[in-house]
Amino acid sequence: MWGEIMLILKPKVNFVVTVEAEITPELATKSLDEILNFKVYYGKNLVKLGDLFEVKKEGDDKKIILDGDFSRVKWIGCRMEDGEILVKGSVGTNCGAYMKGGKIIIEGNADDWLGAEMNGGEIVVKGNTGNLVGCAYYGDATGMSNGKIIIEGNAGNYIGEKMSGGIIEIKGNAGDFVGTEMRGGQIIIHGSCGFVGGDMRGGEIAIKGSFELLPAFIKKEEGLWVGDVNVKGEGKIRAIKS
């Protein structure tokens, strides 16, 4: 999809346990030697990237292709600020966590914690995603605060909890507890979902399919509810007219 492909990684072993590889497009700007020696966690062992992946380097631009099944590789694109990552297969947990800028495209599925506490940039998932998309990590006050996540398939539970800004768009269905404690930003669901907007203070959730409204929202007009009244919230839940 890009004119020039700058760094290509391909798994070369069957991962016995998951791998934690905090790879960002920044890596593509390093020398091949540095890339091969980049440290990743393989269970308790700190190993070289080159031990687990085939590495092909074709330039210095901040672009990476992850070619193959990365569903057992965690923390891809975590804290990335710019550049692009294309995952040709599926990706493991915490992909794009704390992301500030740039773009991640996932052709397969994404596991839990996609774009957690994301603050900028864009993530596109062609397949489905797991749970906790754009959420806050346990103990933190704010989830996604900026940026965009587009999911072409379905998403799991707990989407956009404590979200304060940015957009999450789900083309398929979402699970339960969408936008709990949300304060800002927008969640758009083209399919259906379960409970929405518990303790919502602000922001908007728009849903095309069916959903379960909690007994803490007041109907303002046809297809528009405001709440959660228990936190004197001004969050909007909107039914998208088809």
């Binding site: 990590y137 346990y138 103990g139 933190d140």
Partner: protein, 560 residues
């Protein structure tokens, strides 16, 4: 092995040594006379031009038991700060709330060798001791809480001091505790009905007694028992604007009593009880008034409860206050009503320099530290209520340098200028005073004769810092002072080198002190009352308490 600390500059206030170049000798865990060692067999530590002092003594921190542990559970965001990856030592994590290994390691690195858990829920005593036992490096003890215990209420109501004494002796033995702590006496019982007490003369719900009577009875009993430490009091009305008057009234309760060795009342984290004004909108400092009273009375000591800007977690036995704080901040809140003994609460908070109230609290702490006679005020942050204990060096440097205070005042809310007298205080305490406030004074207040000093026979707990007291200008070189005090060049605990150049070199396990005053009372006389009251407990009397053999390294201090 014996150790010879050579050419250090020693400050040892208890033994009236004011920055003297001298050698120290250590053998079998004690400070010994030069003649007691063979010099050629000693490990020599060259302390040339370095400050040599006794290990620090933290007399009031929350380091073990259900409160801090619930705090940890509540706050995974605190545990993400990695201080140490596991190697020959344990992994250590925590931002302000630390794991047990991290607590021991951080105290040791700072040159502190003793810390007291300041509020032990009696029925949870075994939990507190399990956690104390998990803290390496330091000596420790726990103060069980008495101020809302129904059996205390009963004996106070009956005005039966003999039974109260017997009960206290029984309870501190059962809890393997060190002394008598009281938290918001009567107020926590009121909280069981959703209320609090507001003055020393409010009636405690369900009992015909007042906080005043609880406090004076506890002091009388403690004094008659001649416990090493006095009553250790967290006053009523904590955290309420205008509370400084209650604090002053409370301090004055001590004037009826006297003790030739020590204070008869220690009032703790007084910063939280030094507010003038009628609401947070017009709150101001009551520190000067409190200082005046403390300075004029000979039998009361205090500790600061200094807030440090940044993260903290409020955790006290003052359950109604914790609920108020939760309402005020909207933060998450844990509460624990404990049988018929008391309660506790936990609320995370963060002290922000720009927040007028937080800046006020910060300034009040410093005012207390500056205005109160150095023989009566101990340095604490009421860890983790005011913030980390690891910032004691910041507080020390601030008390020694007006210049540093002026610099810091620039960064805080201007509200401090009108609501406190901090900016006008030109007092600069000396390094010797600060060594006293962090070593010899807390040891004296706690009645620990072998701690906080370097005289012959003292425990060989020594801290060596890269600071020459004969040379340093504490008024101007505050950055240097702060940095030097933050990390010890050497920490020696019980005669073993545990820290070198700020790095851990050996893991040791300290002692747990507890006080046994049973021989001074008629336990038989009080047992029927205790047995009768156990119908209101959810465990059997025979399963209540902690045996010495369950503790890693207990040390019994017998009274009488």
């Amino acid at each position: 092995m014996a150790i010879h600390i050579k050419n250090g500059i020693v400050i040892d206030p208890k033994n009236k040594i004011k920055a003297e170049k001298m050698d120290l000798f250590i053998k079998d865990g004690k400070i010994v006379d030069e003649k007691a060692v063979k010099k050629e067999e000693c490990q020599v530590i060259d302390a040339t031009n370095k400050l040599v002092v006794a290990g620090g003594v933290d007399m009031h921190a929350h380091i073990a038991g259900s409160k801090i542990n619930t705090g940890r559970t509540m706050r995974p965001e605190e545990m993400r700060v990695v201080r140490r990856v596991a190697d020959t030592f344990r992994a250590a994590v925590g931002r302000v709330l630390l794991t047990a290994p991290a607590i021991g390691y951080e105290y040791a690195k700072m040159g502190y060798t003793v810390s007291f858990e300041a509020a032990q829920p009696p029925i949870g005593a075994l939990h507190t001791h399990e956690e104390l036992d998990a803290i390496p490096m330091i000596d420790k003890a726990a103060l069980p809480v008495f101020g809302n215990w129904h059996l205390v209420f009963k004996f106070v109501e009956e005005k039966n001091i003999e039974k109260l004494k017997a009960f206290i002796a029984w309870a501190i033995e059962r809890t393997k505790g060190f002394g008598v702590k009281a938290v918001n006496p009567g107020g926590v019982e009121a909280w069981m009905y959703g209320k609090n007490v507001r003055s020393l003369d409010d009636q405690v719900p369900g009992f015909n007694i007042t906080p005043r009577e609880i406090i004076t009875s506890l002091i009388q009993a403690t004094e008659e028992l001649k416990l090493p430490h006095s009553v250790h009091l967290h006053c009523n009305n904590l955290g309420v604007p205008g509370n400084y008057q209650t604090t002053i009234e409370t301090i004055k309760l001590a004037s009826k009593f006297s003790n030739s060795k020590r204070q008869v009342l220690h009032v703790t984290h007084v910063q939280f009880n030094s507010y003038a004004g009628s609401s947070w909108r017009d709150a101001a400092s009551g520190a000067a008034e409190i200082a005046k009273v403390v300075n004029s009375i000979d039998n009361v000591t205090i500790d600061m409860g200094q807030p440090i800007f940044g993260h903290a977690t409020a955790m006290t036995g003052d359950a109604p206050f914790q609920f108020t704080l939760h309402r005020l901040t909207g933060a998450k809140w844990s509460n624990k009503d404990s049988e018929v003994e008391g309660g506790a609460g936990i609320v995370p908070l963060v002290y922000l320099p720009n927040n007028p109230v937080h800046a006020l609290q910060w300034a009040i702490g410093l005012e207390l530290g500056l205005l109160i006679d150095s023989n009566k005020v101990v340095l604490t942050t009421d860890y983790p209520n005011g913030g980390p204990f690891t910032e004691y060096p910041y507080v020390m440097a601030m008390l020694m340098s007006r210049k540093m205070r002026e610099k810091e005042l620039q960064k805080v809310s201007p509200y401090v200028q009108k609501a406190t007298g901090l900016a006008a205080i030109d007092k600069e305490k000396t390094l010797e005073e600060l060594i006293h406030m962090t070593r010899s004074l807390p040891a004296k207040i706690l009645g620990l004769e072998n701690k906080g000093h370097l005289g012959i026979g003292a425990d060989a707990d020594v801290a060596i810092y890269d600071l020459n007291p004969l040379d340093v200008d504490t008024s101007n070189e505050f950055e240097k002072v702060y940095k030097a005090l933050k990390t010890a060049v050497y920490t020696i605990k019980g005669g073993e080198i545990i820290v070198k150049n700020g790095e851990l070199v050996k893991e040791v396990w300290g002692r747990t002190y507890w006080v046994d005053a049973r021989s001074k009372v008629d336990l038989e006389a009080v047992m029927p009352d205790i047995e009768n009251y156990f119908q209101y407990y959810s465990i059997e009397l025979q399963n209540y308490g902690v045996e010495e053999s369950w503790i890693r390294m207990p040390e019994r201090i017998v009274v009488g």
